[in-house]
Symmetry: C2
Subunit: 668 residues, 2 copies
Amino acid sequence: MAEPTKKKTVARLLTADFVITMDEDYTIYAPGAVAIDGDALVAIGPQEEILATYAGKEQVDAGNAAIMPGLVNAHGHVPMTLLRGLADDLRLDVWLMGYMMPVEREFVNPRFCWLGTQLAAAEMIRSGTTTFMDMYYFEEAVADATAQAGLRGVCAQSILKFPSPDAGSYEEALDRARDFIMRWKNHPLIIPALAPHAPYTVTPELIKGAVAIALEFDSPLHIHIAETAQEVEDHRNAYDMPPVPWLKKLGVFETKATAAHCVHIDEGEMHTFLHYNVGVAHNPSSNLKLSSGFAPVKQMLDMGLNVGIGTDGPASNNDLDMFEELRLATMIAKGITMDPTTLPARQTLEMATIMGARAMHIEDLTGSLEPGKRADLIILGLDKIRQAPHFRRDPESIYSRIVYASHAEDVRDMLVNGKWLMRNRQLLTVNTAALRAEADALAGKIDKFLIQREESVLSKLVAIGGVAQEHSFEIQLKAKVGSEEELKALEERLKNAPGITITRGSRRRQYDTYYAFDDPWGNRLRYREDEVIHLDSDEVITVIYRLTLTTQAKEREYEHSIILSRARFNTTATHSKRFYKEYFAPETEIDIEKERRRFHIQYGGTDFALNLDRIIQPKGMGCFLEIKSRTWSRQDAECKASLIGKLMDVLEVPEEALVRKEYLDIEF
Amino acid sequence: MAEPTKKKTVARLLTADFVITMDEDYTIYAPGAVAIDGDALVAIGPQEEILATYAGKEQVDAGNAAIMPGLVNAHGHVPMTLLRGLADDLRLDVWLMGYMMPVEREFVNPRFCWLGTQLAAAEMIRSGTTTFMDMYYFEEAVADATAQAGLRGVCAQSILKFPSPDAGSYEEALDRARDFIMRWKNHPLIIPALAPHAPYTVTPELIKGAVAIALEFDSPLHIHIAETAQEVEDHRNAYDMPPVPWLKKLGVFETKATAAHCVHIDEGEMHTFLHYNVGVAHNPSSNLKLSSGFAPVKQMLDMGLNVGIGTDGPASNNDLDMFEELRLATMIAKGITMDPTTLPARQTLEMATIMGARAMHIEDLTGSLEPGKRADLIILGLDKIRQAPHFRRDPESIYSRIVYASHAEDVRDMLVNGKWLMRNRQLLTVNTAALRAEADALAGKIDKFLIQREESVLSKLVAIGGVAQEHSFEIQLKAKVGSEEELKALEERLKNAPGITITRGSRRRQYDTYYAFDDPWGNRLRYREDEVIHLDSDEVITVIYRLTLTTQAKEREYEHSIILSRARFNTTATHSKRFYKEYFAPETEIDIEKERRRFHIQYGGTDFALNLDRIIQPKGMGCFLEIKSRTWSRQDAECKASLIGKLMDVLEVPEEALVRKEYLDIEF
């Protein structure tokens, strides 16, 4: 008979052919056992020894499987499960500013975040992730959905300098973050944190405010750093230094900081991270899918940095599968260093477990199977055909089986904080059926929103923000002047004409690109680089980038081909020409280059703008006069049309020179 | 009542929410249906239309799933499932020559190939691959196992210039290939083919022989090309041109050729491929895992080449999962081109279906769902949490759901050549239980083989081939000479000594690296770069690379410290110093550099070798005399020991100058 009285009773006793601890010595027990009581790991060791010492109220023998630490996902935006697959294979700016942000502005609310997080939790549990670091809006909803699912989360409330779905200003965002931290601190599963979003979306004041709160509550601070080369270049231009020293000066690294991406950082910046124990979250899928670049992972690891692995948001991955990230992390590192010994399987798994926990500053809680730590573990089946054979010669070959040949689907069971979240691939804490119905309905709404937007170039323009929808009218006359000599003569007549007062003038060189669309409104979008040139030299004083939308619909045509139309929609072009082209996807594209002398005049007590244009490209088009005025009413328009008729006479513009078309429509 | 009489009856009628054809127009029917009769696709179209036209004896509604072409794996060595995980995270040469080839030499036989292929078939069926291209030994066993599993295979018999597990010479390999093709041609599932292995493992005669057979039978020809930069450089050095023009000259591209890897080819070589319609098999996992480099996939696709995707062998992947390859192919291409619009999801899936079939020259049979083609398809479930939501706005978003968020495990059913191979993830044609037991037993034997080998440096040396195990004895005397002047004086005495005839002499500069091991035999491995230098100038005539194994065990020590030992094991060092270091993993490493005057003399009717050595590195060690002779018997050794004693007197070597140690053990 055994001597059961001598055994200590624990809540759970798990045994398996392999227990992989990821402790400091990378101890593997084969076969091994784990004793668990309450939320904590009590003992891990050789199966025989543990079974001789402990008796479990629940006893599970996993057989041909590995009991191992749950995977740690070091960076993501989990509610974005709801936006997965919304827009793929696009440039970062088109993807982000053309799709993600407009849809987020319209749809993100606490329910969105809760729903998206619950679905993410289901996905993470089924793919072996027990702990994750998140950065999104309404983070209290993320925290709540995470806690309900039973996962461990470092949930960081986003803070941006712009208005965001959950805050009208960064001060409001800081207040929200502080409130969130106070409510959630000391939760057994949730570690509330702050996320000043990225160097290019914050201000020094915002950063200082976030650092103060992080230090006050000893909260983790999560931030994107150096994701793209452009970001670093822009930062250098703005602040004369790359992001890392700038953030250091602002005190960011005095906190328990975790930096996501770090694709474009140099050795000095890595040394800063090392000195301040800044954790790094490497995101292989996202960095490749968005073509951000190849993070210097081997260099960071060689230097001794704690580099975890993250999925990033499911809109840029497109899933939350850490097994895929493990595989990708090691593969890319080998490829880029041209050295197949780079990131061997064990080190890669380390990144996704204990090192990830260190990068998130929670290694005292989780990331390895060691007595006293929380009981966060998975049971990974090793019985699939693709996981065979098992060579016993090298005890570490188990790592290669996990990293190179195991899939998320091999995760059989999950225990977090001592509680089962999945048994035999059945979720125990998340009810996905109801969630999915709600998510499907939401996807339908998002589809509808985007379809409506796509129908109109104006809606797409509005969607990317900032356009001034000035619903006034514009009245215009255009006439062909002919040669440059005639244009000069016209300018002389203008300057000497009785009754005309020139209030100001400027000289411009304008590079216009017209995008035309196959839509019923005849929409046209004009991207203009407007160089303001010194009147006496060829020096460029400034360049103005404008985006202008016109429709071909005329409101009315007066005598002398004077046309009344709805005023154009104007906005500063903050993105590149390439961005607009890809975002609006026009049917055709036409370039026009001209030199313009612009005069603001008063005539008959009324303001007019006069343009004397010499078309440079296309060649041979000639020179033109434009007379324009804005108006708020149709009556006023009629009065102005009459004044323009008189101006024609004063400036000696013959009736036959009048042109009814825009420059791009003129045949010559 | 319906009008069943009007409907055509077919064997099977499948319906699903999506039918993805991958035809020329990338037609998607949502919902769609597929009518199948015998081994062929009869009709594919909108669900309503097909259901109105056809009645199926078997009717399957897949619901929230996609019926799509089975995946096409364009390159691999499928029996290597049995070697998966044997050795990972190693350099290509260590991995290949240190592990794969020695184990293959020992274990590969027809049963190995049949067993490995059956397991591979089970894995491929479960991960959605209906067609694959293979290159291995005993390809008739591969073909048989494939046909039994019901998969479609282009099975290429390897032909190498070296002896291989299935042929003692390349002539034998060619005969074997011809026999294989004759037996298997016209099989409904198997397309027999030839695989002259790679430019660096063939001879022009071998290639010509293979091309002749391929043309005679119109068989596909499969070959590795430009996998590593080293291969291309070596080829240029040997033939003054890279591999592609060399192979072109030999007529390889007159055949239906498929080139695997093509990592290091230039634009001109791509044009050659285009001209001759050479298919390319891109292997993302393998090229990264072995650090071969990044294939110029986008450039090849832009040029119009047919680029398929392959897993390569499971020993360098480590699985046969084409979903992982799809994901990796698009991710890497985006990363390397720094353009996220590179390889969008649809194009990536195209590579793994119809384009792969084109690369293998079997697009008339498979790769897309079109009437008349063979019924090779999979049903991919779309009901996983990670595959949601489905945005309907862009009909092509289905490709993104497949490429970025679907896993092998989502493949529910597979039909090849009109026959079910899997239903609801249950394999119907492969019985894995028995196969796995056999594979496990084999893994145990391989473990044992490698453990025995690892125990002895000699076995490891033998394992990489070519070592001459000369079991003779060596007799040796060593004496310290002191200064260079004394060495010169000794040389004069030697030249003028009565009874000594110098038969020949040479001058060497020797760079030795000694690897020492923590083993019971005191094994030492010496890597020597032996520069033979002109006697009168410093010109290097040739360099000899030698690898020599010694043990510290002495057989006997005679008078005058003359030592008898077992002769050393010598072999030409065909690999790099770095290779040996990584392969043998020594405990310590010591460098010794010396200048040697070597004399072959006759004395007392006996041959001796005399070395006058000046040690250059480590500094301060001084100069030495060595007298050596080989012998076949202990009696002869005694006689020679006596003659060496007399030589000592003739050359005036004092007793106290005698040294019993090897250079690396001498303290100074």
